[in-house]
């Protein structure tokens, strides 16, 4: 669908706002880590890693340098790095130098168990670890979003036509209840109930990390038998997380779909369509669903920040080896470079997702004037 100049201008304006936001978040991050002395830990880790690499280079087999000479060079190099990163200066001169490193994710994971979350081992760059974890998180969120959308969008008008019925009240109650409880707590309950008391789901989700890497290796080697076996195992380990996340957010989706649809089904043209004798299904498909898709997207955009946070915590509960578990591992292990990188990447992904959704919104609903 072609975008007119006005829409492009709106999109451009949003892009500028969101970029400014990202830059401001980075500056704030620098201030937070700087003023609290947290950046010292990060930069110390950076210096340690670079000194280690330098020493490795000097003592590589074939180099003839005597021991004292190596030590002298290493000490010199360490001094140089401390000066470069401003570890000898006050924080406000130092922490800004951290920003460019964060933007290009040029930091190293400092704790082995953090890299272990995604099956890698140190030394490894934070970017490589996040590159493995991020798609898994996005996959889980996207599946849950897609399933919720597929259920809620057609069902919303259906409920709207039955306003005040038991079904309607049921949906409102369901939305109110799932809205009140955090997703990750529902996840805890689901593991307790399905895993421990009923025994129909796993109680520990650790094996999922290995299964995912098995899946990719089977895919690459085109081993069909192995692929089917692994897929079955993955399904066994992932059906509960997906079920829980969908269950938890479906209430909100249904509620907003219903709210939007109630307004649309009482519009003249919809009533006229019905009066012409068109079946309810046809009216809903042709006259209602198309219209409500946009506004539902608004609810999604507005709820995105909250739900990303919720998913990250839910992942921790399920041991799903994505961003959430990385957060948990790096916080508890005290891996400062990773924490900083995660904060940056999450913000970046959130802002990007918001931007994409907003463009989608403009495409879906040409009347929109942001």
């Amino acid at each position: 669908m072609p975008l007119d100049r006005r829409s492009l201008r709106i999109i451009g304006f949003r892009a500028v706002t969101l970029s400014v936001t990202l830059i401001l978040v980075l500056i704030m991050t620098a201030i937070i880590v700087g003023a609290t002395g947290y950046d010292r830990i990060i930069l110390d880790a950076v210096v340690r890693e670079e000194v280690r690499q330098y020493r490795e280079q000097l003592t590589r087999p074939g180099s003839e340098l005597p021991r004292e000479e190596v030590e002298r060079l290493v000490a010199e190099y360490r001094e140089y790095l401390i000066r470069t990163y401003g570890l000898d200066k006050p924080w406000y001169q130092r922490s800004l130098s951290l920003i460019p490193k964060v933007i290009v994710l040029d930091l190293h994971v400092s704790q082995p168990e953090v890299a272990g979350v995604v099956g890698l081992s140190t030394p490894v760059k934070v970017g490589d670890v996040i590159a493995v974890a991020l798609p898994r998180t996005i996959l889980m969120i996207t599946i849950a979003y897609a399933v919720s959308a597929m259920i809620a969008v057609p069902l919303g008008p259906f409920i709207a036509y039955r306003r005040g019925s038991t079904l309607d009240k049921g949906v409102i109650t369901y939305a109110a209840v799932t809205n009140a409880f955090p997703v990750w707590w529902i996840a805890m309950l689901a593991i307790a109930l399905a895993g421990f008391y009923l025994g129909v789901a796993p109680t520990s989700y650790r094996p999922i990390a290995k299964l995912i890497s098995d899946l990719t290796s089977n895919l690459l080697s085109l081993n069909m038998v192995g692929l089917i076996a692994v897929s079955r195992d993955i399904l066994y380990y992932s059906y509960l997380p997906i079920l829980v996340v969908t269950f938890a957010q479906l209430g909100g989706w249904l509620y907003s779909a219903r709210a939007v649809a109630i307004r649309v089904v009482s519009e003249d043209y919809v009533i006229a369509a019905k009066a012409r004798g068109l079946s309810e299904g046809r009216v809903v498909r042709r006259y209602v669903v198309r219209v409500i898709a946009g506004p539902i997207l608004t609810f999604v955009i507005l709820g995105l920040a909250g739900s990303i946070g919720g998913y990250i915590i839910t992942e921790t509960v399920f041991d799903w080896p994505g961003m959430g578990l990385l957060y948990y591992a790096s916080i508890t292990a005290g891996d400062s470079p990773m924490v900083l990188a995660l904060v940056y990447v999450t913000t970046l992904v959130y802002i990007a997702a918001r931007f994409i959704l907003e463009i989608l919104y403009i495409i879906l609903d040409p009347r929109v004037k942001l």
Binding site: T21, V33, V177, F181, M188, I331, S336, V339
Partner: protein
């Protein structure tokens, strides 16, 4: 002049009371409103009860898992009332200030005659116990006995004896020693020699806690039951051989023996002549008061976690914290939003532009990562408890006022366009008068609804942060769930650990959202009428 001021003040108070009473009545007239008011009332009462009943240093106490009272509780203990659901339960019973059964000086006529004949009457357990021969209790001996009924077919976890001594200045604390000896007589008549130790009075004054030992009775136990096992493997789960009998010769399993148990504690005073110590005790110069605690498998209204902490107390502490965090963050957010929104809407121009751009940025910042960063930074900086929570709350406030500002601004704009504002201006009313008399009073009802709506947000965010591994050191509902999460392998099977804090979180947010909805339906028509 002062007279008039007082009158004004009184009339304001009367007006506030009246409007409060009338809005309460209006809220009460809705079903949803009734429910929310009842829940919030319950939460407030629970907070008051919590503040009155828990010690002020409860957070420190909660963290000290290696100290009493937690060490005296069962680990992973069920709530006591599960016995009504048919779960076999061993109660946790504390026998405080156990009454002295018998005290006498036991002296053998012949020094090689050990035990002396006299002892059989004082301490019949001595001879018939399954155990290595305890050191001969010669001298002044006190005997205490308690009986405990094991109702369910389960093993109590332990028996702990707490000894606390008091001594006057006359007594040389290092020269007097006490040898406590513990015998457990089971319903089947077998007596096990389960403890012996030696402590100076000095240590007893500080208070000690003694637990069961296995090595004293294990060799004779193996003989008695003709077991084909070693002391070490018999003693891996200490409470099983004590409270049960082996199912087979390899002692791979035990069957709990139900019925009445008797725990006998004998305190033997040494180091001073028996007559002297008797005199000191009689005059009240020395007194050792024992309390015996049988640690069952259940404790309290909501059971315990893996470290023996009383989850009911933890849950109780969460009430005032949740209310304080929720209300203060919501209040601050709405206050900032109200002020900036009115300024932005009423004055317009460059101020408006600046505020709106700031809002644009703020509503686009995902909160969780920033909170994580701040949380980790303050954790590294060694902040814990309320200071740490205050910082987290400040960050929450700093990035949450955007939405309120947008709404208040648009309301201000529409009110500003009303003719009566025009008229007020024409009559020469000052800007302040217009803002405070005509604009803010109309926004306040709506702002109240927003305030109520945003109360649960902060506490949910705090809970999420805790589960992500940020430890601010206060026992909140989120913290309890985070502890469960950290030990998920066992904790998820313990519904009394996972269910109540989450239910409270949900109830808390449901109550405020329901009240918010009610307030909104009350406020909304008024807004539309204007």
């Amino acid at each position: 002049m002062t007279e008039r001021r007082r009158e004004v003040r009184e009339s304001i108070v009367r007006y506030l009371a009246r409007s409060l009473r009338s809005s309460f009545k209006e809220v009460w007239s809705y079903n949803l409103g009734k429910v929310s008011v009842l829940i919030i009332g319950f939460m407030v009462l629970a907070s008051i009860y919590s503040l009155l009943s828990l010690p002020p240093d409860f957070p420190q106490m909660w963290k000290a898992t290696d100290r009493p009272p937690w060490t005296l509780n069962p680990k992973q203990g069920y709530p006591v009332w599960v016995k009504y659901l048919g779960v076999p339960v061993a109660e946790t019973v504390s026998y405080e200030k156990v009454r002295l059964q018998e005290a006498r000086i036991v002296v053998p006529r012949d020094p090689r005659d050990c035990p002396p004949r006299d002892l059989d009457r004082v301490l019949p357990e001595f001879n018939k116990s399954l155990g290595l021969k305890p050191s001969c209790p010669l001298g002044y001996t006190e005997v205490y006995r308690v009986s405990y009924t094991l109702a369910g077919e389960v093993f109590p976890q332990d028996v702990v004896i707490v000894l606390k001594a008091m001594a006057s200045e006359k007594v040389n604390l290092t020269s007097v020693s006490v040898i406590p000896m513990v015998f457990t007589t089971r319903p089947d008549g077998v007596t096990l020699y389960t403890f012996e130790g030696k402590y100076t009075l000095e240590r007893l004054v500080a208070g000690i806690e003694i637990k069961m030992r296995c090595d004293l009775f294990a060799p004779r136990y193996i003989e008695y039951y003709r077991l084909n096992t070693t002391v070490d493997s018999l003693c891996t789960l200490l409470n099983r051989p004590i409270f049960g009998e082996p199912l087979d010769a390899r002692a791979s399993g035990f069957k709990p023996i139900t019925g009445e148990y008797q725990v006998t504690l004998a305190l033997l005073y040494t180091g001073v002549a028996p007559r002297d110590i008797e005199g000191l005790i009689r005059n009240g110069d020395v007194s050792v008061s024992p309390s015996i605690r049988v640690i069952g498998n259940s404790y309290g209204l909501l059971g315990t976690d893996t470290k023996g902490r009383d989850l009911f107390q933890g849950l109780l502490y969460g009430f005032p914290v949740a209310l304080i965090i929720g209300l203060s963050v919501a209040f601050a957010v709405v206050a900032i939003g109200l002020v900036l929104g009115v300024i932005s809407g009423y004055f317009g121009g460059r101020v408006d532009e600046v505020i709106q751009r700031l809002v644009d940025v703020i509503v686009n910042i995902p909160l969780l990562p920033l909170l994580v960063l701040v949380g980790v930074a303050i954790q590294t900086g060694g902040w814990t408890g309320w200071p740490a929570l205050t910082i987290i709350m400040a960050v929450l406030v700093a990035f949450s006022w955007g939405g309120v500002t947008i709404i208040v601004r648009s309301m201000t704009l529409s009110i500003k366009a009303e003719p009566y504002i025009e008229a007020a201006k024409a009559l020469g009313a000052s800007t302040w008068r217009i803002v405070f008399r005509h604009i803010i009073p109309q926004i306040v009802p709506y702002a109240t609804a927003v305030l109520v709506f945003s109360v649960p947000g902060a506490i949910i965010a705090e809970a999420g942060l805790s589960v992500l591994g940020i430890d601010h050191g206060l026992p909140t509902w989120g913290r309890i769930l985070a502890d469960a999460q950290a030990e998920r392998g066992v904790a998820y099977a313990m519904w009394w650990w996972v269910l109540p804090p989450g239910l409270m979180l949900g109830l808390f947010s449901f109550a405020f959202v329901a009240l918010g909805f009610t307030l909104e339906t009350i406020v909304e028509p008024r807004l539309r009428r204007r």
